[in-house]
Symmetry: C2
């Protein structure tokens, strides 16, 4: 699956995933809720909005990242929208990263892996209710909470991104603690690298990647140099404050090695002055193209061509 993501990046020249972190408050007026069944109508609206966004960007990006929290908050109507969104995105050929940050002891991690990667067997048939290409996971439990995901990566050609250095302001509260001569996030990155060594694809990157926040440039640069087989999922561009120059350090000399997420910057582009007069679909597409240009320019400034 990491190879499919990289091929998509090479083909579109756009190392971007569009973050479908869709809230009902983000929707344009035409998606008005039905007061009689507000949750159900919001669930339908979330999917309709996402489908239109997907249709407007799917020829120019390789992947979407769908943050499950935004759907969980609407209960079953939201989870139906999540399921339909990831299924639709996969159907049109996008690589789907479900951003779930799941984590638990081995037996329970197996159940999570069943939900998103591997599926549960019932009456001889495999059911994977929220089948995704990648998911994000939290590494706090160590290897035996990760192994079930690795098993499904091998068996079904899936991938994971484990949290290493997160993009939020207090990310360093534990992640930056110094353990002998290294920071905790460096120790985590070392393990993530090791966990992925037998899942390396034909471009030299592993299906076991790392989440590395764009808001911590120096740390990202260090990790990029240290872990040449670890692919980075990079949040923090745009709404969270990171610039293209910040994110350029996450790429290798061939412009590969990272996929940059933007959520609000694309979903809410239709509310920005520079896209005035565009509907939400056109604004989203324009915002993706501007983001692509911004990243490619920053890479070029570093002498890198994708």
């Amino acid at each position: 699956m990491i190879d499919k993501l990289i091929e998509g990046i090479k083909q579109t020249k756009c190392p971007v995933c569009v973050g479908l972190d869709t809230m009902h408050t983000y929707l344009p007026e035409e998606f008005e809720a039905d007061e009689k069944k507000p949750l159900r109508s919001i669930g339908d609206a979330l999917f309709d909005f996402n489908r239109e966004i997907i249709d407007s960007i799917n020829d120019i990006v390789p992947s979407v990242k769908v943050q499950v929290a935004y759907y969980e908050q609407y209960g079953s109507a939201g989870m139906r929208a999540f399921k339909k969104t990831i299924a639709y995105a996969r159907k049109v050929g996008l690589v789907v990263i479900s951003d779930v940050k799941r984590n638990d002891i081995g037996s329970t991690a197996t159940a999570y892996s069943n939900a998103y990667l591997g599926g549960v067997e019932i009456g001889g048939e495999r059911h994977c209710p929220y089948e995704s290409d990648f998911i994000t996971v939290n590494p706090y439990f160590g290897i035996d909470g990760i192994q079930p995901f690795l098993n499904d990566c091998k068996k079904y050609g899936k991938g994971i991104f484990a949290l290493v250095k997160t993009s939020n302001p207090s990310g360093g509260e534990f992640q930056d603690l110094k353990v002998y001569r290294k920071r905790l996030y460096e120790r985590v990155a070392d393990k993530v690298d090791a966990w992925g060594q037998d899942l390396i694809g034909e471009y030299g990157y592993s299906a076991v990647g790392a989440v590395v926040g764009a808001t911590y440039r120096e740390q990202a640069q260090f990790l990029r140099e240290k872990h040449p087989t670890t692919f980075f999922l990079v949040p923090g561009y745009g709404a969270q404050g990171a610039t293209a120059a910040d994110i350029a350090v996450n790429f290798d000399a061939n412009g590969l090695g990272a996929v940059i997420n933007s959520s609000r910057g694309i979903l809410l582009a239709y509310k920005k002055p520079q896209y005035a007069g565009m509907n939400f679909k056109k604004a989203a597409r324009a915002a993706v193209l501007d983001m692509k240009e911004d990243i490619l320019s920053a890479l070029k400034a570093n002498g890198v061509n994708l």
Copy 2:
């Protein structure tokens, strides 16, 4: 909510939460799946089984812990069973701990908190689809990923348990790393303690508790002495190998300060030789009473009476 949990423990003299980690393979033969709609019939069966377990134990325990992973793996049918299970358990007066281990940056943590604690406002009405009394959370993001949960704890009288020292074999891979003179889990425990200081209830315990695995006895003993206002949710008894003597160190001199979880030991009691001839409900009840006896004896051996 921490006060309600403690009152329930004092009333039942049973510091136990029954872990409803229900899988379709755990169900007795009478819950046969309908081959035509296997997922839906499994969802119904999970709830029916849980309801019968709840009915058979709700007068002898204060709380249940419901592990969402086991429901997510069945998709919407599973999540419906999860929702119905927690609603039913709350209706009959049990304190419900939803074991979700959610974690993310602040804006996304808010969405998770909406789902389980606070609710989302739609058309002036509050909708909390999976309303629980407590949830478990993962602290890897630091305070700004925790603050949204704290806000809802204050506003709605809820509680959280943050992962500190997990019960699994590789739990120490990161948690035991030495940061200056302390282990990482000690650093996390210090923060969890501090996060909870303005949520302390009338028994001297905070609504911000810690997950402390029963399988690491010395560490638990250390944490109990160090953090007198932090209530512990203790997994690892039974199927994971911890004995009552191991778990006794998690309690204070009054027999308070901890609630011990058992999942498979109770749900699957009907398959054990010592409960032969009992149906699953009677076996679950007998297993809870045996567990209570086991814990109270171990406490007594330490000179503690609940």
